[in-house]
Symmetry: C2
């Protein structure tokens, strides 16, 4: 059939369908109800919509009347100020007077429950099953989905599976009583001659809490293990099992789980999967799946949806620097939907099709394509969401007889996420439903247009527009963070083990000093070891003594004049070159960290990304700052503000971010025109030496960057006190930092400058869990912040301060979730936590764990591997009070102190009560508490409703005050200023009464 002809038929059918529902409105848009009014108001008022949706999100966690009343006021203002729509139903009940907070709260609460009830078939299994009977009596089939909180632990996964077992038990019994829905030919025990009466959907991430593409095979195995148990039961009662598709991150895992499961149930046809048309991968994934099914001759079933995580996917990919996995133009998704539907229908013999959409154009297209391809009725059905678009589902039922409602059940807490998604869908400007019921003929015409044509037109318009890309500084593209590793990509997954193997295949070499542009070998050496296998030696690190450091300082001094006078744009170019070199060997640089300091794959990769970010960012910062600024605009004088480097910089780096922090401090010093003597930590000198290679290859002149690993107790003071050193950039412990501050402040004979010390020290960082926190988010973020890289980050969370009301529930979920963290070598992605960096760290941390036993109670202590390795358990200690050492001293290991605060004020007070002020976090959904924390939670980096590690260059400039540092912010817009002195050059341009005019002169008042 010709495209035009088919399209004409589709439009005709669409018009007929629209005609059949003319004048009807879905419940949701019925403005005589509170829900309808609220929806309408939300569509007109974006700010209200945000507040409303956020309030709906927090609503189920509000346990007391005070909490509820307080949050209503915080979100919407006092009753007098809030939009009338919110209190309107209430106000009627209150006879036009004001209601008082408590009555208002009760009424709003009732309304929200009613709103949720619109989309959920019940909170308990009994109610749900009864509602299913009603649905069937109305002529619809159903697919049941169990709403649940995020699965954070094996116990919660187990509970999820158990819920299905209960549900299936109830349905097994109930389905006996259900008559089959009117069918064509086929099995008379099945709906429509082909579909089981019992149909359930399951979510893979609910089945395995540690699902993660980084451990692809482990994740597939674990999910499969759980899903088999549900599947067996479904098959036993001859039901249908659909594996839901969630976010893109788990897509390939889910497809793999589906294929393996199907291989186990080759002949059982009623196991389906969901595909999302909005994904750019969708065509390829569907083609692969269909050819696999054909090749294996395995009957499959596909539910085709548009996709429900668009906001999340676009935001997350922007945050991670990845290509956006979803289509960004609505018409593109709609056109894809029709294209994929056709692909499936063409293979209807092997693939059953569930067309899941409310879009009348898409539905009409499917009906016409099926007709054209003569697809038997039993091979395709229509699915819509319970509670939405009632007129559409009635019309399609009338037309096709085969409509299945997606019917979630479960409790309110879990249901709110689902509710918010549904509200979003219905209020978005692009919502088909919203437009469908506008009642305007012109709009209907447009809704029925061929999306492929619309998309092509939009593309053409876009192509004609000027290029949107920002100019950035000086011809460079603007700064963007280096993309994070993306384990949804198979090439990234294989690159890690390959790089580790490559590294191990090389014999352990000698790591020399680098002074004045040349390698320099010393006899004094120490071994670099893998903390998980200390017998594995990665290299021999030459140790600098005082003569070598002295020589390096001389080299740096000699190189200074020429480097200082190198144009700032050229200095920046060296950094950009270095960034390119690092980018080219990113997996090797990460693999070295995995083995040398025991860092997990993703974190090691992130460290290299951060190093690249520093190079790219500081290069641009110098290009920005390098141009003299005119100050004032008084005629007859030109005042230029410019910068000059401080001189020779000593850069003293820690081992925990072995490339990023070293590279950040060194590159900031270098690009601003200083020359550098770099002392890495001996624990990460192999990684540190990579910096030598990178800068050497980037062509940095000799003497600008010198590398002198050595023992701090031998060379540290000498380096810091040397009169030719003008600047010390240090990141490390408080003890060493304070010693440097004191030593550097002493003026020695012949000293050039008062030394500048840039000092980043430790932290004793707390996360506050407010009583309305979203635990689905808080628990995993907290675990990541506390135990990622074994807690060996100055930003790591070492205290969690939990509000009394939530304490028990929180600790329970936390400890259960922690059990899922397995401890083992970082090179194996199955382990979430590895070994600590050396025996000294192991000893110190173990002592703190012992102390914790005295000061508090051990809530959890993980098992650790036997045999060699610097293992310490993941440890959670409860009952800690502010006066305890565990609440005050930096441990720098995987030990988390849990504190119970009576209220938010106390939580803030405790959070601030250590000598440190580095990072902090707060999980709360109280606007007032968030506002208060912004000011009163006095740390360098405060994170709200997310983890507290992983600061990104430019976005989260990093560093703290008090005993955590001197208020410098690495990766921020003021960082380079620490490395330079500002100068002002003033020229009198008035000569002989004649002043050259400048364009920006302020003349004549």
């Amino acid at each position: 059939m010709q495209t035009e002809e088919r399209n004409a038929r589709i439009i005709a059918r669409g018009k007929a369908l629209f005609a059949s529902i003319a004048g009807e409105k879905p419940t949701l848009f019925n403005t005589s109800s509170w829900t309808g009014k609220i929806m309408e108001w939300s569509m007109r008022n974006e700010q209200f919509k945000i507040q409303l949706f956020r309030f709906v999100d927090v609503f189920p966690s509000l346990k007391t009347s005070e909490q509820l009343t307080g949050h209503i006021r915080e979100y919407f203002g006092s009753e007098q100020d809030m939009p009338p729509v919110l209190s309107s139903g209430a106000r009627m009940a209150g006879m036009f007077g004001t209601l008082g907070g408590s009555l208002l709260a009760k009424l709003i609460s009732a309304n929200i429950h009613e709103m949720a009830g619109q989309f959920i078939i019940g909170e308990q299994v009994g109610a749900a099953v009864r509602q299913l009977g009603k649905i069937r009596r109305d002529g619809f089939a159903a697919v049941v989905d169990v709403l649940g909180e995020a699965t954070l632990s094996d116990e919660e996964a187990e509970a999820y599976i158990a819920t299905y077992q209960v549900l299936l038990g109830a349905l097994e019994h109930e389905q006996q009583r259900w008559e089959c829905l009117r069918g064509g030919v086929g099995d008379p025990e099945l709906d429509w001659g082909g579909s089981p009466k019992v149909n359930v959907s399951v979510k893979p991430t609910a089945i395995f809490c540690m699902a993660n593409p980084q451990d692809f095979e482990g994740s597939v195995q674990a999910i499969l293990k759980g899903i088999r148990r549900i599947c067996a039961r479904v098959v036993a009662l001859k039901g249908f099992l659909c594996i839901d598709m969630e976010s893109y991150r788990f897509k390939d895992i889910t497809l793999e789980v589906y294929r393996r499961l199907k291989l186990e149930y080759r002949d059982y046809p009623h196991i389906g999967i969901v595909l999302q048309a909005y994904l750019r991968d969708a065509d390829r994934d569907l083609a692969d799946l269909l050819s696999w099914a054909v090749a294996e001759n395995i009957p499959i079933s596909v539910r085709l949806v548009k996709g429900a995580y668009w906001d999340y996917e676009t935001v997350r990919s922007a945050q991670m620097g990845w290509e956006i996995p979803v289509r960004t133009v609505k018409a593109d998704t709609d056109a894809t939907y029709e294209r994929l539907a056709r692909m499936i229908l063409e293979q209807h013999q092997i693939c059953h099709f569930a067309c899941a959409t409310h879009n009348i154009r898409s539905i009409s297209a499917v009906i016409e394509i099926a007709k054209e391809l003569q697809v038997p009725e039993a091979r395709f059905e229509f699915q819509m969401l319970y509670g939405m678009a009632e007129p559409v589902r009635r019309a399609i039922l009338k037309e096709t007889g085969r409509v299945r409602l997606y019917s979630p059940y479960g409790d309110m807490v879990a249901g709110m996420g689902y509710l918010v998604r549904r509200l979003l869908e219905n209020t978005s400007n692009e919502s088909f439903l919203r437009q469908s019921f506008s009642g305007k003929a012109r709009i209907i015409e447009r809704l029925l247009e061929d999306p492929a044509v619309t998309f092509a037109q939009e593309e053409a318009v876009q192509a004609g527009l000027p290029n949107k890309s920002d100019a950035g500084h000086d011809g460079l593209p603007p700064f963007a963070n280096e993309p994070m590793v993306d384990f949804t990509r198979a090439d990234h997954r294989v690159a890690f083990p390959e790089a580790i193997a490559r590294l191990r295949s090389q014999p352990a070499g000698i790591c020399p000093l680098f002074i004045g542009g040349s390698d320099s070998v010393t006899d004094d050496r120490i071994s670099s070891r893998n903390p998980a296998h200390p017998s594995e030696i990665l290299g021999q690190v030459c140790q600098a003594g005082i003569p070598e450091v002295d020589c390096a300082i001389r080299s740096a001094s000699d190189a200074l004049p020429a480097w200082r006078d190198t144009p700032h744009r050229d200095r920046a170019t060296f950094l950009l070159n270095a960034a390119g070199i690092a980018r080219g060997r990113i997996f090797d640089l990460a693999a070295t960290q995995v083995l040398e300091v025991g860092k997990q794959w993703d974190q090691a990769y992130a460290d290299v990304c951060e190093a690249i970010d520093f190079l790219e960012y500081y290069a641009r910062e110098m290009i920005r700052l390098g141009v003299p600024r005119r100050l004032g605009a008084v005629p007859g004088e030109l005042n230029h503000y410019l910068y000059e480097p401080k001189g020779v910089a000593a850069v003293i780096a820690p081992w925990n971010f072995p490339l990023a922090i070293s590279c950040g401090m060194a590159s900031a010093a270098i690009v601003s025109g200083n020359t550098v003597v770099f002392k890495p930590s001996n624990l990460s000198a192999m990684v540190g030496h990579h910096l030598v290679d990178i800068f050497r290859e980037a062509g940095l002149p000799p003497g600008v960057f010198n590398f002198v690993p050595g023992r701090g107790e031998v060379i540290g003071d000498f380096l810091v006190e040397h009169p030719d050193i003008s600047l010390v950039a240090f990141t490390g412990s408080m003890e060493v930092g304070l010693r440097i501050e004191e030593r550097a402040a002493k003026i020695h004979p012949g000293q050039l400058n008062v030394k500048k010390v840039i000092c980043e020290m430790g932290g004793k960082n707390a996360i506050i869990i407010d009583d309305d926190a979203d635990l689905d988010e808080a628990v995993p973020q907290l675990l990541g912040s506390a135990f990622g890289f074994q807690g060996q980050k100055c930003s790591a969370c070492s205290r969690v301060i939990v509000l009394d009301a939530l304490y028990d529930r929180f600790v329970e979920r936390l400890v259960k979730a922690a059990r899922a963290w397995r401890v083992g070598p970082a090179e194996d992605p199955a382990f979430a936590m590895g070994a600590v960096v050396d025996a000294a760290a192991q000893k110190k941390i173990s002592e703190y764990v012992s102390l914790g036993r005295l000061e508090g109670t051990v809530l959890y202590e993980s098992p650790v591997p036997q045999g060699e390795g610097y293992w310490v358990p993941l440890t959670i200690i409860g009952g800690i009070r502010p006066e305890h050492r565990l609440a005050r001293e930096e441990i720098f290991g995987p030990v988390l102190a849990v504190m119970r605060a009576k209220d938010f004020d106390q939580a803030i007070e405790w959070a601030n009560c250590t000598g440190f002020a580095l990072t902090g976090g707060l999980f709360s959904r109280s606007p007032e508490h968030l506002d208060r924390a912004r000011h009163a939670f006095r740390v360098g980096n405060l994170y709200i409703n997310r983890g507290i590690t992983g600061a990104m260059v430019e976005r989260q400039p990093f560093g703290g005050a008090r005993m955590s540092g001197t208020g410098t912010k690495a990766g921020g817009p003021e960082y380079l200023l620490n490395f330079m002195d500002p100068r002002v050059v003033t020229e009198n341009t008035l000569r002989r009464g004649f002043a050259a005019e400048e364009a920006d002169d302020k003349r004549l008042g």
Copy 2:
């Protein structure tokens, strides 16, 4: 006569005059000459014009062929790159080949000489007199003006007078041979029946080098004394003496000189003065002068000009913050000219009128007004400049018979300033001449319009335009420096002695401490004394001991939490209030400094202005910085960058800028949310206590600002080492500064923060005098920089490095100029230099003078007053080499070391060779050297072709590096950052897959 009728007649006459010169061109616009070509090119190319005029300015000082060749290249590029017009004449001579630098230079040099010759009647008196004869033979009279360098010393003033004596001697003889120009009725020995044949102009500032409205009466007396000698001679030979009007600064002095002179020569009619129509004061000044003449019945003569210092006046007033004294609309000046001309002509019986303009409209108006008022011909004449607008002068001569040419003579060096002014006049877009000879009828119509009408129209247009004033921050007007004291205003001149008398009329009181919002008196007190009269005691300053300082720190700590949390806008408002209070008592604040530290009037006033500037600027800076900035634009997260104060600040201030520096450091600390313990110098505690009054009246909460004068050796270390102090802001000597750096770096038990030290220390500042420097500028600026406030500024010049080629000439002028600086009490404006601050300073400086005698040669040592007072002589010591202590150590007194450098490289090397790097200066007109100095002269504040003291807030942020300070810049855009720690608050705004969109999100790649 009706205005319209008169205007019609003026236009008709103007048209006739234009018609009579149709087709003629002045020499200057004749493009067949090199000058004409150059002028035309300049009019088309602003950048070339600037370079050309600057080159013309430096040209006479280029003594060698190499210098000349070098400067041609630096100004215009190599021969290949320079505009063809510049080398065109030359190229023709060179037969179309390239010429080689030396030949090109010779030809350009010859052309510039020719260009100058156009405007100057001769370099020597003989040639000039001959040229005058020729002028007279052409039918023109002349007024002779002697071009001279700026008068920098009494000797130079004497030489100027002597030149006039020689000139008058020659003219006395010569005039015998001159026939009278055709006259009407009247004295047959006079030109035109009324005008002496000999007519000379003199410049008041050439007669007294220290002329200064601050010492109004002294200036009038000194000028009168010199002018009398010329006048006597002029009267003796029955000539005409005109007193020229120069810049606005000297206008009232000149008018006063004229009146006093006329009172001495009541009946001699041939003494005139110049009035400038472009001055806003012109109507009032003329009216005053005419009524004075009528009242006294003294015949006067006025030459009315438009005014030649427009650029200078507008630039200077903008720089000083004064109202612009000149009219800013050309038509306004032209209309004023006609109005004033009418006023004079109406009083023609008492006032002779010289109409000095080339503007045909103005001339026509004068002719018509004179006709209307029936003014006898002998009572008015026309004046034009020699070398300009030849067709116009011929036409007016033909029309009126009475044209006098303003005829300068003198040497090239002095002549170039005059030449540049003439070139500017002819190339300006608004130039009447330039337009007059365009030959276009439409332009002529417009040139002849009534300027009063044109001006009214322009005013109406301006009034209709939207208000141009910038919005500034948060509704405040943008920052502008507080206007400097303006001694051209009589009210400012009387305010100082009044304020000093007021201060002296109060009994010496007790200056208490101020702690926690209350005064606090101690028994330990020291006397504050006037350094010029140590027996004069200004007050008893209570001394804080350790208990008082401890108490002040506690008060500040207690006040911190509330002050820190006070909204930044409110904190800023306190500063703005304080600024208003200081502004209201500005003369009293300045007078206290005059008596307490011996600061001269203008400098004391400037110190208070700077204090007000700090308050106004830091308030705005905090308003700017107080708003959290979003970083990154990634969707789903909000990163806000904000600041938090460091804590309790110790502010330790010096005595030399007793209000400004104290107020600057304290207000920066306060506005950024810190609380302050302020220790002033005991030498300026009375001034310091004014800050208490100001902040108290501004309503600052108790404890935010505490005042604890005391002995450094008693309380200094305690204050700096106190664990509750988080910040030390210090300005003072290197010795104390370095001690503070060391002490503050030690961490004490219970200490809150690593202390931040903001440290501004000394300088050993050099000015380089390049071999092409403009000595007219360099010498007075150098003296001001070295000896202003007795050299007691960290920015003061204490070394001058002179290039060998100019050394002798420079030193000669310098020493002569220094002799004019009289030393005496600061309260008397007759004295340029006062006493040093105390006996210890006197002793230390005297020791350096003795040392200077050993290391070098005393070139000049001023006399000092006898009797009490901490006097040291103004001292200039030559023969100093870099290794001498006088070249390396800060003296902090009026001692200048002179060094002779062999070339510019050596000068730069010497300039940089001390341990300090605070200020520096360069007088040069070599573009290459200026460029080099910008980078290679490594000081915090480099000043090009101006003095090196008096940095202004916002325009010249102040501070240096090396042993001069830690690279902070007071009054600059980064200063407040030193007082705060940056924080980042990151919020994850993605909840339940729903991210509120921000307007500046970067979405979708």
